[in-house]
Subunit: 594 residues, 2 copies
């Protein structure tokens, strides 16, 4: 596999030509300094770090994995991981989009997201150490007391300390209402927390001086179900340097992300402090979870990009067979496999999904920035609604497409793709978890259709589709864009009809929503990507003839590929949604094994 | 993961109620003794062996892998593999469908295929040792001289010796025309063979006393390209016990099938003997390859079945959330996840693909039996044509669906699916290679559309579709089957139209065939499975009310699921095929990286 090269030109395209963040960002209070030059210099610095420090550690990290010492409960990360993290802190990256009040650099999400994408491409297992830490920062920042913020945030921002999210228990992941960990008050404002947490990413390691666990547990007499869950801060080490009784009990042996320590965390009367209101832990945790879901989507995106780069280089070098229409490279014993239509289909699928995903995440990042900083509350609400609607889409659609892309990249390599040293199969294994954690993609689908679309009678959805409708109207007379605007308008109308039909059916039978959800999410995903590709084509047409025609022509050609070869999936989705719940619900439980 | 249970009831259904092999087999010369009782007793013995011996070695084999000793060039297989192989030989399984003239039991393929499926479910890495050996048996049996047959076949049939296929070289896999290994005549009828072979499955191991390598190499002055390739027998040990200079140079580190030794084989003037005609090695090798392609399809099928069994058991046990329509198990803290529509969608996808695949392979196995033994040459030709047409479909469609099924099984497990000890992710890793080796699935698609369909102007395809047409005609007035026969007839007509359109387009531009191939293969796959499901429903309706209604009702319900939720993929395929080659071929090579 070739060395990873950060797609800086495409970041520039998406940020400055497509989404045009500079039209918005410097006008937001607090982001005045986030000019295009600042973005560029940060992205270049991050690219250097990801290309030169993180990417070379990716394969060795997978082979070595993490080491657990049962005697000391210590975990050692693969060679070089700790040093790379130290350098990352030295460069100030943990502080990038953190609050200046606690030492942060106060940069927007629309800058932080491309940085995250690069980390995911270069070394997704490594990226999760600072990634989880940032989640802990966000939760404490949003819900902590002033004292808690003063205590924990500066060290999390500098990267001296890291953080985790401790939700899952052996018997519950999706259904946190079943959670059993207990928190008993000590009488001094602290709590004594006991329980077993599993699947704790970056749960124990040797990178930072302290680890701040955010732990869900139940207070005595707490209501059953999710209404009785509270959130606690449980540091590995106390102020006085003494060890808290929160220990790593084991590391999981996993399919991928082997260089990330997925820990069993045992709390045995560990001392912790309530964060936020009692019994409101789940909503506090959702501050982290929504960010984590977008972070998952970035993993699908980043891995798709890495796999594309690997497959493209191989397809240009590997000589095998002649082009169907005659010899392409007469000076060589065979033609490079990029001449074959089916190899191009795989490469273009990777490219089309990746570039549309990059556009979507940048659009969402800007909405997050608006949601946080815009002086107008209606603008903040609009942005928040779009983020709420599209977060499950970004998580599930981007990770499913990332997995498809990673598998295609591996397929381009033929037998060599199955061999570890090439690195292509690692991308498949590393990507696979992104479809599962932070809420399986099935859960995302129910979140989208049930909570985000049907619960408010389509209000958030209409806000979104109005934007697409407006785009279609604006470009109605644009002959060049007609090949995109036509199908996009048609799909937009169909999505409205389908949403109405599913909503009516679900009103009578909730299983109809459950049955439609996964297909519906892909439908909305395609609507979003079709919009992104039409917009990218619009920008590209306007820039043709200005000296970078290859770049812009590639956008138009890839948009055509997307509409011709990927978007038709909606024809199947419309049919399967229409066929409803009955085909899923009719088989008796005991008949499955027949 | 639960212990593997062989699907004996479903084998019985497919063999005796659907395909009705007993209407054909005992009438074929040489198969008189292959009665239903004989089938049953063999299948029960194989089930016992696979459930009790092979399945328990599957997880440990993956963890341990094979060991290579560079000093001795020896390979040690994981603990228990050798002993299981000894028992397999003792039970006579290597001889199952081999020629009685060489110690074989002369049983039909329609019995051998279910046995193969069980091995693939229980332990696909192990199954490849006897699998490759059987391929070598077939090639020598078909193309060897009487002396060669007498020398090698009895030991291969007994299992004392095993065999390999040595095709691939570092610079060529798909394109064997680039092959470089050389064979110089020694003057005594033997040849001195030099070259490096890679990706040799079961290439070196400790299970058998000798390994018979079948090696492709070029004679001096051989024509370039595939027309100058010859096939040689290269034993690891000579008659006198002396070691031949064919050595394992290394084992590959792979994503999956880790318990199978994927060897680099170095030939350094190794002594070998020509098998078949000079320069006709590739067609000799295709004897093995076609069988190997069906064997690959069986891997997708077997792994899909294993994953389904694992996921089904978990979905019945794992408690998480309540059913959307209200509490299902009030005595439990949550409902088993099988109540959720999306979990059912995944389980039913596994079930529908697996059972249709089992029907297809049994149908093909019977055609192989007819092709080999039928006294009427026209009947043999019809059978051979159907096998030729559907071999690439069985290979690619079944392995792609197997991979989908394995991924869904893992998804049902949520986070636990990613953890190695559960075994679900191993099935994903083990299945992945089946889409690549023995000709990538992209190559299968070109084989189907180019060689099998267009080359004879659709003659083989029409023979096949006539059978489906006849089924539809016969059941035209059958109200119960109308929900299947209607869509099947429609699809049948569409496939005819699409084939014609693609053929016309490809006549002008060969890339049109290359661009359509992968989608076309899935289209034919769905046509085949839709036919299988309609036939299974037909049989099931006739058997209702006879005491096994759960079994037969499950067939009808699963057929409905297939038609409602999987078959609609053809709506997308029709569109993508129609959109042609241009969207794939327009992007300039240098524009990919833009």
């Amino acid at each position: 596999m070739p060395a990873y090269k950060a797609p800086l030109r495409d970041f520039d395209f998406v940020l400055n030509e497509l989404i045009k963040v500079q039209d918005v960002i410097p006008a937001l209070p607090g982001y005045q300094e986030a000019t295009q030059d600042i973005y560029t210099s940060y992205l270049e610095a991050a690219a250097q770090f990801c290309e030169n420090e993180l990417a070379p550690l990716n394969r060795p990290g997978d082979e070595e994995g993490c080491h657990f010492d049962a005697a000391t409960h210590n975990v050692t990360t693969p060679a070089g991981f700790k040093e790379a993290y130290a350098q990352y802190c030295e460069l100030g990256f943990p502080a990038l989009d953190c609050d200046p009040a606690y030492g942060g650099q106060g940069m927007p999400k629309s800058l932080a997201f491309p940085v995250m994408e690069m980390q995911c491409s270069a070394n997704v297992a490594w990226s999760m150490y600072p990634g989880l830490s940032h989640g802990a920062y966000s939760a404490i920042h949003a819900h902590g007391s002033e004292e808690q913020k003063a205590t924990y945030l500066p060290k999390l921002v500098s990267g001296e300390w890291t953080g985790t999210m401790c939700l899952t228990e052996p018997h519950c992941g999706t259904d946190l209402g079943l959670l059993k960990s207990k928190a008993e008050p000590n009488g001094d404002g602290s709590y004594s927390i006991t329980g077993t947490k599993i699947f704790i990413s970056a749960g124990e390691h040797d990178m930072s001086a302290n680890i701040i666990h955010l732990v869900l547990a139940r207070l005595p007499d707490a209501p059953k179900d999710v209404k009785g869950i509270s959130l606690f801060i449980v540091p590995k080490f106390h102020d006085d340097g003494s060890r808290n009784s929160v220990y790593c009990g084991a590391l999981e042996h996993k399919m991928g992300i082997k260089a990330n320590a997925t820990a069993v965390i045992n709390l045995d009367g560990a001392k912790g402090w309530l964060i936020g209101e009692p019994n409101k832990g789940l909503s506090c945790m959702f501050t982290m979870m929504n960010a984590a879901r977008l972070g998952c989507g970035m993993q699908g995106l980043g891995i798709g990009e890495a796999s594309f780069q690997g497959a493209l280089a191989y397809a240009k070098e590997r000589l095998q067979m002649r082009a169907l229409n005659g010899v392409h490279s007469p000076d060589k014993p065979a033609d490079p496999i990029i001449v074959h239509p089916d190899v191009r289909r795989m490469l273009l699928t990777q490219k089309a999904y990746t570039e549309a995903g990059r556009a979507l995440t940048t659009l969402l990042a800007l909405q997050l920035d608006i949601e946080e900083k815009h002086p107008d509350s209606a603008a903040r609400q609009d942005a928040a609604d779009l983020v709420a609607l599209l977060t499950p889409v970004a998580k599930a659609f981007m990770t499913d497409n990332g997995y498809t892309a990673a598998n295609m990249g591996m397929q381009v390599f033929g037998g060599h793709g199955f061999i570890r040293e090439w690195g292509m199969e690692q991308l498949v294994r590393d990507c696979r978890i992104s479809q599962i954690y932070e809420g399986t993609n099935g859960i995302q689908a129910i979140d989208l259709l049930g909570r985000k679309v049907l619960l408010d009678q389509g209000q958030k959805l209409r806000k979104f589709t109005k934007q697409i409708h407006k785009f279609c109207q604006t470009n109605e007379g644009n002959d060049k864009l007609a090949e995109f605007v036509g199908p996009l308008s048609k799909l937009l109308k169909e999505v409205g009809d389908i949403t109405m039909a599913v909503g009516m059916a679900a009103f009578k039978d909730k299983d109809e929503a459950g049955a439609a959800a996964t297909d519906y999410l892909r439908l909305i995903g395609h609507l979003t990507y079709a919009w992104m590709w039409a917009r990218m084509a619009e920008v590209a047409y306007a820039k043709l003839g200005q000296g970078e025609d290859d770049f812009y022509q590639a956008k138009i050609t890839t948009a055509r590929f997307y509409y011709a070869k990927l978007l038709p999936e909606v024809e199947a989705l419309k049919a399967t949604i229409k066929n409803g719940a009955k085909p899923l619900m009719s088989l008796g439980e005991e008949q499955f094994a027949c």
